[in-house]
């Protein structure tokens, strides 16, 4: 079993802020849930199961490194170390802000650990094409790789966002993950639009867009 971590933004307080009673908040969350695709399996916490609920095949707008357009599987991405997850999260966070004239803001995210139970892990570190597969901008080699190996359950690969190239995992089946989650940690951050950058306040780690793009 391998312990890995992810970082999430939690919107669960939205309904409580938007409504005047707990009952109304409960209803609001419930009815919004009914407008989403179903969770893929029972027994896994929503934090683990949610990445597997997106509609398939993958729509071109939602392609990612190991999610080629029209691919028939969803993917949960996780990192072995929190530091790597902070860089990966920073990339996706800044990607949605780099084009904006946005205000400075602070916020919180939640890091949590989860567990890979599958032993069928494919390690890409020794692959002769690893530099191409991990290109920061060109996903064609990684798409070609996963399309050539569609039966892979779990991929282990070096992060291209973390300067130390920490280990990342791509998990293609919820059954490869344990039904429980481990430790959780609230992370505070500060967003600076000029740059732009995100400062993870607990660790003092500032990550600029140019470092991860």
């Amino acid at each position: 079993m391998i312990e890995v971590c992810r970082i999430e933004s939690q919107p669960s307080l939205y309904a409580e802020e938007a409504t005047s009673s707990y009952e109304k908040a409960l209803y609001l969350e419930s009815i919004l849930e009914e407008t989403k695709p179903p969770l893929p399996a029972t027994g896994w916490p929503p934090l683990v199961a949610t990445p597997f609920r997106y509609p398939l095949p993958v729509a071109p707008a939602y392609q990612a490194r190991f999610r080629p357009p029209f691919f028939s599987k969803n993917v949960l991405y996780a990192a072995r170390e929190l530091r790597t997850a902070l860089y990966e999260h920073a990339y996706h966070y800044l990607l949605e802000r780099v084009h904006l004239k946005a205000l400075r803001e602070t916020g919180q995210r939640t890091a949590f650990s989860l567990f890979i139970v599958s032993r069928n892990i494919t390690d890409l570190h020794g692959d002769p094409e690893i530099q191409k597969i991990m290109d920061r901008r060109d996903y064609r080699p990684s798409h070609a790789y996963i399309e050539a190996h569609p039966a892979i359950e779990v991929l282990l690969y070096p992060s291209c966002r973390d300067p130390r190239q920490g280990d990342n995992f791509a998990i293609f089946d919820v059954h490869c993950l344990a039904k429980n989650i481990g430790a959780q940690q609230t992370l505070s951050f500060y967003f600076e639009p000029a740059g732009p950058s995100i400062l993870w306040m607990d660790s003092g780690l500032r990550i600029t867009w140019t470092e991860v793009c």
């Binding site: 409504t19 009952e23 609001l28 009815i31 009914e34 407008t35 803001e105």
Partner: protein, 162 residues
Amino acid sequence: MSIEGYTEYRNYTSQKKEGPGMALNLAFTNIHDVPRVPPHQSITAEQAVYEALQFLRAQWALSGSMLAKLLHLPVNTVNLWLSKKRVPVGRPPFDPREEAVLNLIAIHRSLHAMFSEPPNQLAWLKTRHPKLGFIPWEKIQESLSGLFLVRQYLDYVRGRGA
């Protein structure tokens, strides 16, 4: 009301479960005994949806007519809801009008999670998105399918870390 793209959207949610379900995200809590979800079409349910729309209106400083534009609904319908302080939403499967209301609230919910400042939520909506190739605010007003597309995109990118 335009229902362009509605079939496509129904495919997105086609396997959803029937009836109200346990949906409050309790992943980070140890709470197991929670109150029952109020039934669909109850006064509490209709008030809950109204309050969410009002929350959205206040944060984005929307007039009733602008809200109606985003929902692809007649202004009179929206103003009637606002004056009665209730939004009638039935039970699944929802009709296009109900889907529009719920998806706009879902867009606000996602942006609220992504950006703590409402001006930043609006900046995201009103700026041309380099990956999507359009201005989300305009896409939402174009058609119901545009509204659903923006909602789906936000669901996805929020899961990635946005």
